[in-house]
């Protein structure tokens, strides 16, 4: 039976990033366990966006750091993750302008270079945009996107070079605890002795936490995405309007989604309502893509907490750590969350103090931090 210093459950960006930063800290005797293939959950289903335009101190500071780390990943990982700072162009109606002015003020104080721009400037950034009914936009040129599959693959190669064990198509069935200390992680194929477990299981996180009696306040909301056939890249920013968002990947496909206002569900099926609604919304903003064909449509989960912030760090069970509940922002937060959890494991403290406000205790104490800018 193998002994591991840390067992990470979940082979999405959160789990792999945590393993990557643990390895960089020198901890190599660890394992990542993924019940399907790497990136098969929310990472591979995400909308690719990476933004700092949030409305709370915690989110803004974590994302400012994450953008810095995305740049490092682009330069240092064994292959490109296609991180591109094309900006987030958040289109606003007149009635929304004042609120976003406030958000931008907070973002600026915390060192993010967002600004409010007028209608004409919107046209300068994306000439094809239909600005009817739009007063202006909140624009942050250092926001951007990256390519999920290349990111997963780049991390996989990096971990392989560090000699880190990755198990795919292997499911954790039980976490054995004795006298309040984690002893073993049992999968459907083998058992690992360990005292440290990271729950990075995405939409399976609640099930994993239940194995050790930890109840997580998570709800699953299905969100759908469509991609078009490829054309030469002409759209670098992520464009947001209400619930609608879209950009173009480096491979030329327009990717985007919107919200159908669904109740929580366990189903990951695509629905017939999504495409017409998405098409209507996107064509009202960017009519010139009307003749592009849709290539694929799929669904993923936003794993949502009551305050739309993730749950990071320790629990009442020593050695059981959480990187869960990203509420639709798990991909963009991946680098910083991995680094935070790794430093927490190695040094017992989060290296960004704001992250301490995001642990599980806030739901007991009622100190929630409400995020107002949620898309899709």
């Amino acid at each position: 039976m193998e002994s591991k210093d840390v067992v990470i459950i979940g082979g999405g960006i959160t789990g792999l990033s945590t393993a990557y930063y643990l390895a960089k800290e020198g901890l190599r005797n660890i394992v990542v366990i993924e019940k399907s293939y790497l990136g098969s959950g929310s990472t591979g289903r995400c909308g690719t966006g990476i933004r700092q335009q949030f409305t709370t101190r915690e989110h803004i500071i974590l994302m400012r750091e994450s953008v810095k780390l995305w740049k490092e990943w682009e330069n240092n990982l064994p292959k490109s993750v296609h991180f591109r700072q094309g900006g987030y162009l958040w289109l606003l109606k007149e009635s929304e302008m004042d609120a976003y002015r406030e958000y931008v003020r907070l973002q600026n104080i915390l060192g993010v270079n967002s600004r409010i721009i007028g209608k004409d400037d919107v046209k300068l950034i994306v000439p094809d945009i239909n600005t009817e009914g739009i007063a202006g936009a909140s624009w942050c040129p250092s926001d951007g996107n990256a390519y999920p599959f290349d990111t997963i693959d780049a991390l996989r190669i990096a971990l392989k070079r560090f000699g880190i064990l990755i198990r795919q198509f292997e499911e954790v069935k039980e976490i054995k605890v004795k006298n309040g200390i984690i002893q073993q992680v049992v999968t459907d194929k083998e058992t690992f002795n360990t005292h440290f477990v990271v729950d990075a299981a995405g939409f399976g996180a609640r099930k994993v936490a239940r194995m050790v009696g930890v109840d997580l306040p998570l709800k699953l909301y299905r969100h759908q995405i469509a991609v078009s056939e490829p054309v030469k890249v002409f759209l670098e920013p992520m464009v947001v309007k209400g619930e609608l968002y879209f950009t173009q990947t480096y491979r030329g496909r327009i990717i985007g989604g919107t919200d159908l206002n669904e109740q929580p569900t366990e189903s990951l099926s695509s629905t017939d309502e999504f495409l017409p609604q998405f098409a209507n919304e996107i064509l009202s903003v960017l009519p010139t893509i009307s003749s592009l064909n849709v290539m694929r449509q799929w669904a993923g989960f936003y794993v949502v907490t009551p305050d739309h912030h993730p749950i990071l760090g320790g629990t009442d069970l020593p050695g059981f750590l959480l990187g869960v509940g990203f509420s639709g922002h798990g991909f963009m937060l991946g680098p910083v969350v991995g680094k935070l959890l790794a430093t927490y494991i190695m040094h017992g403290t989060m290296y960004l103090p704001e992250a301490n406000n995001l642990d599980l205790r806030r739901f007991r104490s009622g100190c929630l931090i409400q995020e107002k800018a949620v898309i899709g």
Binding site: V231, K232, S270, T271, A279, S291
Partner: protein
Amino acid sequence: MNKKGAGMREIKSHPILHFDRGGQVEFSFEGKRITAYQSETVAMALYRNGINVFSESSKLHRPRGMFCAIGKCSSCMMRVNGVPNVRTCILPVRSNMQVERQHGLGEKPSGVVHFLSPVEREETVTIIGGGPAGLSAAIVFAENGVKPLVIEQNPLLGGQLIKQTHKFFGSKNEGAGIRGIKIAKEMIQKVENLGIPTLARSSAFGFYPETDTLGVFKENQYIKVHSNYYLFATGAAERMIPFEGNDLPGVFGAGAAQTMMNIFGIKPGNRVLMVGAGNVGLIISYQLLQAGVEVAGVVEAAPRIGGYFVHAAKLRRFGVPILTSTTIKRAIGVARVEKAVTVSLDDKFNEIPNSEKEWGIDTVCLSTGLIPSVTLLAQAGCKMKYSPYLSGYVPIRNKNLMTTKENIFIAGDVSGVEEASTAILEGQLAAYSILKKMGKDAALQIDETRSELEKLRSGPFGTKILKGLEEVQYE
């Protein structure tokens, strides 16, 4: 060059077919005027006018031409009237169209399309695919008082039958001794006479299992189809095999060559190397000869000819060599195939050193098998299984062609690649099975159709199919 090309590629006389090409229209290709026939698709008009290269590949900028000619691949994509990525092989010509080559990925579209608002259709039975299986099913439904909706991606109904000029074997009921084109004509006529509603040039693009809805797109209209029963008769697509230069213009699926010759009256080339000596390869080689095209030879990787003896014998009579244990290694050319190299194989399919042979040809046709078009069925959640005898992943089904979902049935090549006469019978069987489910008395017809199918499969070519069916049939 254009004029000469047009003369060279147009079939002037044919022993079986007469081409009713319709009047002439003009459109623009790269700023030059092209004369086309009204009945042609854009790709056919270009090819008849001597144009081989339709686009450049996106990474290595290699020349690309048409490959499948039936809208199943993406080899013929061009920019048409400012719209990128248009499959020109299934786009009818219109006068004054602006057609341009794509260099790598297409540029973003320039015009704006105005979509019609989505419509919903309530149907009893929906048939996806208007080939032999789909049409024979549609006829059975209509004759039993149920009007099905037929959805077809191509502009024409009839599937691959409309280009099959050869006579069919098998039993009289399924048209033995009659040419495929005639069977198709009769079926299409019947569908029209019975007033069966059909949507041609319509893509069934997605099946949504939560609501059992079929998403269909026709021109600028999104159609949501809600149907009590679905019959998938989506056919199959040609299999590409790997060899150097397999993307050069002038490398075609054998079915594409057949489409060019027998529907549009266009010669795919002057001198052809056929890869694959199954029935498709042998029959199409003979049809190439009928169209006045030279067939340099047929190569077959297996140690023996796969198709019927009579088809092989016809070719040998014309002096066409059929080389077994031989496969294509390389196609060579700058903007089009100019030469090909084949190589001999040992009994383990390994290349024998120094056995290369060079062929002076301008066209390579691949008849290396078909793959069932099953993606919609997989989306629907039907359980699938891989069977090499049936040519790929196919849905698990019962003897009456019901999949693991009670409202979804299959017929024709999508259930396992076979041939048109069995496709016709499967279409009928699936239709009777659905009628029975609907409470109609169809038990007798089911038994009859099943025994007809058994008879057709009793020959040596049926053993493979029967083996496959053992793997994928339940109950």
